[in-house]
């Protein structure tokens, strides 16, 4: 059973041209197509990794799934029910079952709240349990994320280190007993030295508490470690999806190949082929209709510029690449 399905999910942001451009020069409205026609599904207790460069639409996807941003078109279905336009009790239920871990632990904790209050805020807002039960669960979850409650409950965020803050953030998401966790680059703002600890914590909690998860990162080696499946995105489009090991060890899409080729190898003597791509990452403002990667792709031709391949969700475990030229690439 698929717990979450994204069905042709798109989000465009309008860029208002300046007043003079709009009125006198009659420039049309521009759009940033942050996410375009994304089809993915996530199974029960599965961790889906999403990888891609900055600006590829990873975070936009996360905010849409967590209900903080309305999609421009397409649908998000949670347990078969669309979450677009949910209101009242249904929205509360959804908020409870889908929780988000934010990227920046320095910005995402209210500076005026103590750690225990940050963690207790969700259950209090949704009125999940009575006050004693909330206190009890807060202490339990703080202990579970490695912050001994007797030491940490009374602290303000500025009295915590980056890693401790992120643990508070994780605790505040997990205390709601969600069925799904959206982790938007939870490690990117942390020191390398404490990343492993947080990563192990997330994996451990996932095994223990059994929730599905979307895990966003631009670090393929982390995704190879935590994710069951990996989705590769580029400028708002899905490029490749498949079981994590498969995608990373045996990439099919030219972009994924370049991305995997860019992962550092900790051996100064090892040399490898320079990825066969050209140019810079282009802007997602008013992009042409075809594959976003076409301008940089060595194999692109007119069909790539005319339309792009959408992934299907029919077989969730299939390894698919959104490319017209797969047979040519496989040969070459």
């Amino acid at each position: 059973m698929e717990i979450l399905e994204l069905d042709h999910l798109s989000r465009h942001f309008e860029i208002q041209p300046g007043f003079i451009d709009r009125v006198i020069r009659r420039h049309p409205m521009s759009y940033i197509k942050a996410v375009e026609s994304l089809n993915v599904s996530i199974g029960n207790n599965e961790i889906l990794g999403i990888a891609g460069e900055s600006g590829c639409g990873k975070s936009t996807t996360c905010t849409m799934v967590s209900g903080l941003l309305e999609p421009t078109s397409g649908d998000i279905r949670y347990k078969g029910k669309s979450i677009i336009g949910l209101k009242g009790e249904e929205l509360r239920q959804y908020r409870r079952s889908v929780q988000m871990i934010f990227q920046d632990p320095y910005e995402s904790l209210n500076p005026r709240f103590r750690a225990a209050d940050i963690v207790a805020e969700g259950p209090r807002a949704l009125d999940l349990w009575d006050a004693d039960e909330i206190d009890h669960r807060v202490i339990e979850i703080l202990n579970a994320v490695g912050l001994p409650a007797h030491k940490y409950t009374e602290r303000f965020p500025h009295e915590l280190s980056g890693g401790e803050r992120q643990r508070v953030g994780i605790a505040s998401a997990l205390v709601m007993e969600p069925e799904m966790i959206i982790a938007d680059e939870p490690l990117s703002m942390l020191d390398v030295s404490i990343r492993a600890g947080i990563l192990d914590l997330i994996k451990e909690l996932q095994e223990e508490r059994q929730f599905s998860s979307i895990y966003v990162s631009h670090d393929l080696s982390i995704l190879g470690n935590v994710a069951d499946r990996v989705l590769i995105m580029y400028l708002g489009q899905a490029m490749e999806i498949g079981p994590a090991k498969d995608v990373i060890l045996n990439p099919r899409h030219p972009y994924t190949r370049a991305l995997v080729g860019a992962v550092p190898i900790p051996d100064p003597r090892s040399r490898r082929a320079i990825p066969n791509i050209r140019g810079d990452i282009s802007k997602p403002i008013d992009p042409p209709p075809g594959c976003r990667f076409a301008p940089r792709c060595p194999h692109a031709d007119s069909s790539c510029q005319a339309n792009f391949v959408e992934l299907s969700t029919e077989d969730p475990n299939a390894h698919q690449a959104a490319c017209h030229k797969l047979d040519i690439i496989a040969d070459g």
């Binding site: 905010t63 967590s66 209900g67 903080l68 509360r92 908020r95 409870r96 929780q99 988000m100 934010f102 990227q103 920046d104 910005e107 995402s108 904790l109 209210n110 500076p111 005026r112 805020e121 969700g122 807002a125 949704l126 006050a131 004693d132 206190d135 953030g169 505040s172 998401a173 709601m176």
Partner: protein
């Protein structure tokens, strides 16, 4: 367990108060202002016991002579008026009126201003537009003509003076709080509160409000100071409540008596009180301004 929580809340309250005390006394001027305000508050509370006479009671000196226009002396510490009223008693009793007007209109106006600013800033769009245009209209309204119309419609009553002051004064706090709310609303912890399921009401009052609190206290002090000044000016022009004595009203009576050049003690004392109280409030607000705007802090 619930006793435990109560004690925690008490502890939070105590540490909060200690924090405010620390903010105020961190700076010599604001500490001075703080104690002056406390002094005025004490005088206002115990005014009827401190004042030796009624405000409009004719007084006589020890020899039994009618005490008219006496300069300060041991018997009349700040002198008397031409009708033989004891100015010290008037001053003490007026403190009560002034503080009452200042505190009520200052606090009510900050409550109105803060709510309008928070709601306008948080929701944005049409609501923001409507509320801010309303504020703009009030900005165009000059205070004195406004109060003259209000008083001539309803009569010289303390309530209407307070109402007029409130209606005019909330506008600045609304604008400033709105700007700050817009800035805070963009921060990620608000998105996190929303993702955790907090309602708009809860986000505004539990998540944004504590973060605009220093600014709010700054403007509360400002509003109180401005209310006191506007009340004094209105009373001085004869638009105060004739039944209750206030510092502005004392100056109005002096003006009516025509003894401005003779009785220096008569105009000096209420003026000094007004200036002292308003400056004290500004000094205290200054301490909060440093918290709200850390760049002002001394390096």
């Amino acid at each position: 367990m619930s006793a435990n929580r109560l004690s925690r809340q008490l502890k939070n309250l105590r540490s909060g108060l200690a924090e405010h005390y620390r903010i105020i006394t961190s700076n010599r001027l604001s500490a001075f202002g703080f104690w002056i305000i406390i002094l005025f508050v004490v005088v206002a509370i115990f005014a009827p016991w401190i004042a030796p006479h009624e405000p409009w009671e004719m007084v006589y000196d020890r020899d039994g002579n009618f005490a008219s226009l006496r300069p300060p002396s041991w018997q009349f510490p700040v002198g008397t008026t031409h009708l033989g009223y004891d100015l010290f008693s008037q001053l003490v009793l007026a403190t009560r009126t002034t503080l009452l007007i200042g505190a009520t209109s200052g606090l009510i106006s900050i409550i109105i201003g803060a709510n309008i600013g928070l709601v306008a800033g948080y929701y944005g769009g049409k609501i923001d537009e409507v509320l801010m245009r309303l504020t703009d209209i009030l900005y165009g309204m000059p205070f004195l003509p406004f109060i003259i119309i209000l008083i001539s419609l309803f009569g010289r009553k303390l309530e209407f003076v307070i109402l007029a002051i409130i209606l005019i004064i909330w506008r600045t706090s609304a604008r400033v709080i709105r700007a700050q709310t817009i800035a805070i609303k963009q921060r990620q912890f608000i998105a996190m509160a929303k993702a955790r399921g907090c309602s708009d009401f809860r986000i505004i009052y539990r998540h944004i409000l504590p973060n605009v609190l220093p600014l709010l206290l700054l403007y509360a002090a400002f509003n109180i100071a401005w209310s006191i000044i506007t009340e004094a000016s209105a009373s001085f022009l004869g638009f105060g409540d004739g039944e209750t004595i206030s510092w502005g009203g004392m100056l109005y009576e002096l003006w009516l008596s025509g003894k401005t050049r003779v009785a220096w003690w008569w105009f000096a004392t209420p003026s000094i009180c007004i200036v002292l109280l308003v400056t004290s409030l500004v000094f205290v607000s200054r301490a909060y301004e440093e918290v709200a705007n850390p760049r002002l802090r001394k390096r």
